[in-house]
């Protein structure tokens, strides 16, 4: 029995990597000399940074049995607010204010969720509309430019050595996320709340507090994604993050986090978002039409998830 369960765990962790490598190797073969080049890999790392970062917070939300559909709005508001703040304040303060915006939005989701006892899907469906509306009115749909070169360099378009700062941020946030998720009592409590809310409550866990913080973390990483967007684009606009939330959720689930909560990994999520990123990149390089890309992307998402859930079939 000891052996069996050991094998199980290994297999299930392993499988998260399989879809990653299948996609990686698949495209490398289909696109010799084009896909697996340093340049293209750096492209993919840069392009997925915004999703990878937001997906870290989403991993917490989904693990706690919740979901956040409002990340797009939070990303947009944060990008705009940060850009506006950069016109008056130094980089660090503007970034902190931006993160603060994410905190507030996430916390609002958390409060509505726990106080009104509305399912997260609905709360964030509603607040998503509110946040997007707010982002649109903030500058009346107008773009805000960013001329702060330090900010643009360190949060967006710069490199350190030859590594894009965007990717460095992805790594930093993922590592912090993974540590909190796996190694702290808070992370354990998030897993417990998602695994069985009543059992968690019986164990003396303040389930509302945990759900609140899971949503807040999700808001914060969505905000950080907005900061990266604005630095990468040297400006902000209400459309940033607009279509990301489904990609973010897909990244989390492909990464092996259970959609019904209680199980997951943040490293897996990073791989999941890289799968999405490689897919977007590779399908384009293949020269497929937009329609064909959509069809292929849908098929690969279903395949990747069914692969990462395969181990459950045996039960």
């Amino acid at each position: 029995m000891q052996r069996q369960s050991f094998k199980d765990i290994n297999l299930s962790k392993f499988i998260v990597y399989i879809s990653f490598f299948i996609v990686l190797i698949g495209f490398s073969i289909l696109l010799p000399g084009k896909f697996l080049t340093v340049n293209n890999i750096l492209n993919i790392l840069r392009q997925t940074a915004m999703i990878s970062v937001a997906a870290v917070g989403m991993t917490f939300a989904i693990t706690a049995g919740q979901i956040d559909l409002s990340t797009g709005g939070v990303t947009a508001i944060t990008a705009l607010v940060t850009a506006l703040m950069l016109q008056r304040f130094p980089t660090v303060i503007a970034v902190l204010i931006g993160v603060g915006v994410g905190f507030i939005c996430g916390a609002l989701n958390g409060i509505l969720l726990t106080k009104c006892r509305i399912p997260a899907f609905i709360v964030t469906l509603g607040t998503s509309s509110v946040y997007v509306g707010f982002a649109r009115s903030l500058t009346n749909l107008e773009a805000v430019t960013i001329t702060n070169e330090t900010f643009n360099h360190y949060f967006g378009s710069g490199n350190i050595g030859f590594i894009p700062t965007l990717f460095l941020w992805t790594v930093v946030i993922t590592v912090i996320g993974q540590y909190v998720y796996k190694k702290t009592p808070f992370g354990r409590a998030v897993l417990a709340v998602g695994g069985s809310e009543s059992a968690a409550r019986y164990s003396g866990i303040n389930t509302d507090k945990i759900k609140f913080w899971a949503m807040t973390i999700c808001g914060i990483t969505a905000a950080f994604s907005g900061i990266l967007y604005s630095a990468r684009m040297h400006g902000a606009r209400y459309t940033y993050g607009e279509n990301d939330s489904m990609n973010i959720i897909a990244a989390v689930v492909i990464g092996g986090t259970s959609f019904s909560g209680g199980k997951g990994t943040v490293f897996g999520t990073l791989l999941g978002s890289l799968v999405i990123g490689m897919l977007n990149n590779g399908l384009l390089l293949l020269g497929l039409s937009v329609n064909a890309q959509m069809i292929a992307r849908g098929i690969v998402i279903v395949l990747a998830v069914s692969l990462s859930l395969r181990e459950k079939l045996s039960n």
């Binding site: 649109r136 749909l141 400006g235």
Partner: protein, 349 residues
Amino acid sequence: AEENSEFLTMIPNYDNAVGTYAQGPNGEEAVAADDVNLTEEQYAVVKDMHLSLAMLWAGAGEWYNGMTDGAKSECEKMGIEIATTADAEFDPAQQATQIETALSLSPDIILTLPVDPASGTAAYQPAVDQGVKIVFADNSVNGYIGGEQYVSVCTGDQYGMGRTCAQLISDAIGGSGKIGIIYYEADYTVTNNRDNQFVRSILEDYPDIEIASMMGFAEETATGEVASAMLTQNPDLDAVYVSWDVAAEPVVAEIRSSGYDTKLVTIDLGGNNDLEMANGGIVYGKSADMPYQIGATMVKTAALSLLGEEAPTYIVSDSICMTKDNIEESWISAMNCQPSDDVLKALGK
């Protein structure tokens, strides 16, 4: 020429009627927007009519803001009350819904940008039946005739803008080189027309320019991936054309981080890219129509029609050719406002 025909038929609606100058939906000759005007007396008469108006746009953004502002300023002059504003998010069904709903407010005028000419026929019928003066922006709907079902179509010169972009891109790369085209892959007449005209102009008028790659996109936020794929396959691209400004932003970001010396040309004004242009960066030039003027003209034609005057049925605003040198002037004429402070600062003003 063989492969050229492939480029010519790639974008939806490539077979729309083609002329040197864009003609109206029923072959009308274009009237310049500047030529549509009301006399002082006519303003006074309209003011006494206490009219109301609804704006039912297809989407949202700075361009729509410009149009709304233009219409609003004219409404103020004429004492027209704005009953409601809506954005159909490019969904024809939602637009049909918004038309029906707006009609409950019994507006005298509807300014609208039809999302879909095909289904628009049925969608606008209730408004026609109710006798509302409809003024279209950009395109009409199938089967309608100017002066009958609607007053007029006011549009930017899509073909003109396509041509201007071809000119700009040629300037940017010194007359010869390789370019890429990133076009909107959707059935949307306005962008289809400008994209197709751009392709045609390049093929016909600039034989030294080679179209190295043409790729479509479906979401304006997802063009970065397209650009990087294009650059990966063609690292030697000299310039890129993108359908419109917002869609060009991620492309600019992608070019910037790729480190290539690739120029970009696009359509519409917009803060982020104009700053890049002011700084002499990736964005070389832009074409744009004049949304403020279009909005104002739409109200004017509606008023003329309500006064019993004959309004022109097809009105085209000027298009602008903007480079680093005329950013400020362009903003003032197109949007009736100054570019952002950052842009002015970059221009040294």
